[in-house]
């Protein structure tokens, strides 16, 4: 079959690391080609080379049979290569049309021809079944729609080859389903797609072939229909992986955390969390499921003390903590694995040992009379590093910045678990991690549950919620849509609830 892109024997070195080692990738015309690999395996480097952001040290790129040198993204665009980034690059107070034509505005004399552009966008939108209103403002449309605007941006620029970078991370299951449909209609119109993802289920659903990269090397390219998810995962990680979280029946005890009629204001003064109530018992994992931006962040901030509680009660082991500050809540037994490990969870320019004592540096034995006790800190940190398998070149004194995402997260998880909290709030604990690290962190969370602690799991990954939680509370625009027992529900039901459709409605 005709290959529209061939990346041949690509090699790219960064100081101290070979990011791509003799990588060969062929994209056939009209296929969805999945690029699968753990974090740091070299997927992004490879795609950055294709998009002209990096130059390869060796190897060549052949587009439509002609060897080319892609020196910058503009050249990539001219070759018909377009990319939908994981984080959308849209101007929020511009309309769909304005965003799409940005940078190549069609002129009508000295004025921008918005009308003509909108018409063309409308046609494209209909042709591919995207259903986008060219006059809508970005801030008024859903995340799923915004992604379609990104797709339209590429189509408007006549892209033939579309690269999707982790496109489903921000979507509901239903929106994911829609996206898959869109991809198929793109194929029908003769486009070719490279799909970067670590979700095996999606590869199975939409991709024709899959190239697996591990540590910069191609492990193999397989026909998706001839393989299984387990096989692909094994290729990716290099060993057998268990997908299912091994856990027994939960043994819920007394109420550890009770939230009653909680109201929290968002940054723009809107009610981000509306009269929210739930109970969390010892020995259980309660999942909070919802699409990104539906009030989870504000809920967590209100629980941990990072954001003011407007009204309502948060009681931790029977004591109302709604009026306490962050430190007092921590001392009352609340631990928090934050959503963004680099923004909140770690001081990246501090060493691991300095990060390990972030919340407890004022306590004995880590400080005495206002002076840090470095030996105690070192011993504590070494113990945690060992216990939680945090890998770094220099051990305790390595800067947090130098650790891989998985090891950063393990350090945070270890630190928080070691505080022996009453309630552990874990927000997106495995975001962006590879399968091996996910497996490890999940195991640790279940251990906490089995040890009789209460775990609140807030995640955007529905699979994670369903795998780990004993019960699930679904949130939509700040309101509790419903509560289900995990063993009595399925992805479809929770997915609908995430979209705001109440159970049984």
């Amino acid at each position: 079959m005709e290959k529209i892109i061939e990346m041949q024997n690509i090699r790219k070195e960064f100081p101290g690391i070979v990011a791509n080692d003799n990588v060969t990738l062929g994209l056939r015309k009209g296929e969805v080609h999945a690029l699968l690999g753990e974090n740091g395996a070299g997927k992004s480097t490879l795609m950055s080379i294709l998009f002209g952001l990096y130059q390869p040290d060796a190897g060549q790129i052949v587009v439509r049979g002609e060897p080319v040198q892609i020196k910058n993204p503009t050249m990539a665009n001219n070759l018909g290569i377009g990319m939908v980034h994981q984080h959308f690059k849209l101007v929020h107070n511009f309309t769909v049309t304005e965003n799409i034509i940005l940078g190549m505005e069609p002129m009508n004399g000295i004025a921008i021809d918005r009308k003509g552009a909108a018409l063309k966008i409308k046609e494209l939108s209909q042709q591919y079944g995207l259903d986008v209103d060219p006059y809508a403002k970005i801030e008024d449309i859903s995340v799923g729609m915004q992604q379609r605007v990104e797709i339209l941006k590429m189509l408007y620029r006549d892209a033939e080859i579309l690269i999707f970078d982790e496109p489903t991370a921000v979507l509901t299951p239903q929106e994911i389903h829609e996206l898959m449909k869109i991809m198929r209609s793109l194929l029908k119109e003769g486009k070719s797609i490279i799909l970067i993802t670590h979700k095996l289920k999606e590869i199975k659903e939409v991709a024709d072939r899959c190239t697996v990269i591990r540590r910069g090397k191609v492990i193999g390219t397989v026909d998706v229909k001839d393989t299984t998810e387990a096989k692909m995962a094994e290729m990716m990680v290099g060993r057998e992986v268990s997908f299912h979280v091994e856990k027994g029946e939960s043994n819920p005890g007394e109420i550890a955390l009770e939230v009653k009629d909680l109201v929290v204001m968002g940054t723009r003064g809107e009610e981000a969390v509306k009269s929210f109530s739930f109970q969390l018992r010892r020995g259980e994992i309660l999942g909070i499921a919802g699409v990104d931006g539906n009030g989870q962040a504000q809920l967590v901030e209100a629980l941990t003390g990072l954001r003011k509680v407007e009204s309502g009660v948060i009681s931790l082991a029977g004591k109302d903590i709604a009026g306490l500050n962050i430190k007092e809540r921590f001392e009352a037994g609340l631990a928090h694995i934050p959503e963004d490990r680099q923004k909140r969870g770690l001081v990246l320019d501090y060493s691991i040992e300095e990060n390990m004592i972030l919340e407890i540096h004022q306590n004995e034995p880590f400080s005495r009379m206002g002076f840090l006790q470095f030996d105690e800190i070192r011993n504590y940190s070494e113990r945690l590093i060992k216990e939680f398998d945090v890998r770094s070149g220099e051990g305790s004194i390595a800067k947090a910045r130098a650790l891989s995402g998985g090891n950063q997260q393990k350090a945070i998880v270890g630190r928080e678990i070691s505080h022996n909290p009453e309630v552990l709030i874990a927000v997106q604990p495995t975001r962006g991690l590879d399968v091996g690290s996910i497996e490890y962190i999940h195991k640790r969370l279940v251990e906490q549950r089995d040890a009789g602690r209460a775990v609140l799991l807030v995640s955007l990954e529905l699979d994670e919620i369903l795998d780990l939680s004993d019960r699930v509370v679904v949130i939509n625009s700040g309101t509790k849509v419903g509560e289900v027992i995990t063993s009595e529900t399925d992805e479809n039901e929770v997915g609908l609830m995430m979209a705001g459709i109440e159970k049984g409605a």
């Binding site: 100081p15 928090h336 909140r344 770690l346 001081v347 972030l358 540096h361 206002g370 840090l372 030996d375």
Partner: protein, 357 residues
Amino acid sequence: MKRVSTFKIRIPHQLQIALMAIAFGMLIAAVLIVITGNNPFSAYWFLFRGGLMSIKRIGNTLAGATTLILTGLSVAFAFRTGLFNIGAAGQMLFGGFVATALGLTLNLPKAILLPVMMLGAMLGGAFWGFIPGLLKAKFNVHEVVATIMMNFIALWIAYYGIQDTILKDPNQETQSARLPVEASLQVDWLRDITGNSFLNLGLIIAIIFVVIIAIIINKTVLGYQLKAAGYNRFAAEYAGMKVNRNIILSMAIAGALAGLAGFTFYAGFSNHVEIGKLPIQGFDGIAVALLGGSTPVGALFAALFFGILQTGKGFMQSMTGVPPEVGDLIIGFILYGAACQILFERILKYFKRGRNA
């Protein structure tokens, strides 16, 4: 197990960068010296001789560096906690003004008067740093704007506070009365061993505070918290540290250090306050902190280096005809060099890789 503190790791690398910045500054200035028709080698020879050739000149170099050590320390301390203190000049002037007012009005023996003045200078400076800190913590007013405004407020308070009061020198239009011997940091024994230089007790104060601040930054809970807020405010907040309190505290400490600088300058170097003028050392403190990699010890050495340039530039002029402003130009280019840290880091990396290959 031997402990390697992060502090010790920083220095060699920072030193390399600083030396490259200095080389860069001197190189560009050399080009300018050539353009003015002079020989850069002899210019630099006389510049450094001017700063170091006699015990008296060394004394003056140290006396000039004293104030810079403290303003540099002030800026560096704030910077380590994520704050940009542009207001060292105002804090220094206000602290110096308070010390001078105390020195001119109180009638106490030297051993009591000097500590009182020192405390007054620190409190005055601390107050001048506290206000921008408070504005930043409570209303998110950027400290750069607030400290610049505080500079002007200090300028005019000192102006009117001296202009029509008993503090003014009746025979001079633009300065306060001279401080009496009891209120001066200048002491006979230091003058005697340095051939009548301006060297005074301020240097000892400055060195003591370099040590104190280094200990605070590297060894204490307070330093740990302040640095955490400087590196990542969100993580500090997450960990339950009182970030706003720390901002205010950090600005107040930075202000106190600048106030001390004012004490060493107005009660040690000049012995009077010139009115209608912000002390340039307050702004030079930014350069000192930058060249010193924002570490206390780095600020000490950077201040000594700038002290040599300050003292030597007059000698350079008289011996070669190179205008003394070239000394300031060198400082300016060194600053550019220090600001181009990334560039030098790349150059360093390039050479390291070249050696390995």
